[in-house]
Symmetry: C2
Subunit: 119 residues, 2 copies
């Protein structure tokens, strides 16, 4: 339900969560289909507890969500989380756009006074 609390700590958690190949693979998998935690654990050459921790990291970063179903915990992808990362990246691209615009302005600048740029 987290509306849009993208403070530094939240952004840290998002990027940190994506900085591991196992976790990125989990994100891909649970986006395309449903997996229980043990179903995911069966896919990787590591212990159940390790996968459980990875899922917990992704959950705290709001990249996936869990829902109890019987004795299983179903993991699903959380599109909002990914969209937030994307939005962040868009902001950086926007900064680049601003920079490009500023450079274009400088190049288009016409010297109104007689002071010339040396060289």
């Amino acid at each position: 339900m987290v509306v849009d609390q993208l403070d530094d700590a939240g952004i840290d958690r998002l990027f940190q969560a994506l900085a591991d190949p196992t976790r990125r693979d989990i994100v891909r998998r649970v986006t395309l289909g449903e997996y229980s935690v043990s179903g995911l654990a069966a896919l990787y050459a590591m212990s159940f507890a390790a996968v459980q921790k990875h899922v917990a990291v992704l959950e705290r970063a709001s990249l996936v969500s869990k829902e109890k179903r019987g004795r299983e915990q179903i993991v699903r992808g959380n599109h909002e989380g990914l969209q937030n990362v994307r939005r962040l990246l868009d902001e950086y691209e926007e900064i680049w756009r601003q920079r490009a615009a500023r450079i274009a302005d400088i190049l288009a600048e016409e010297p109104k006074n007689n002071r010339r740029v040396p060289q």
Copy 2:
């Protein structure tokens, strides 16, 4: 010069590098203007060496590049690096699109034989 070696380790480095607020701020700054390492260091409440390490992390992730100028080292933003991150995020969005399409297919599915889905 790294053409497009986006292996797991490279992706790890990209996301890991962005998972720190100081480093994200450095990326913003050096995108908009030029900074020497010590120029950057003056901006943060930490030692020169700490900032130097942050820049090194960003450089290994190809998010910034350094260029020696006199006794200074000028840090600049590397647009390619950011574009790579963005491209990665686009891939995840594409996976979501596929999922949405798949779900739409299932909903649109018409039973051609008489075998009905139970319930």
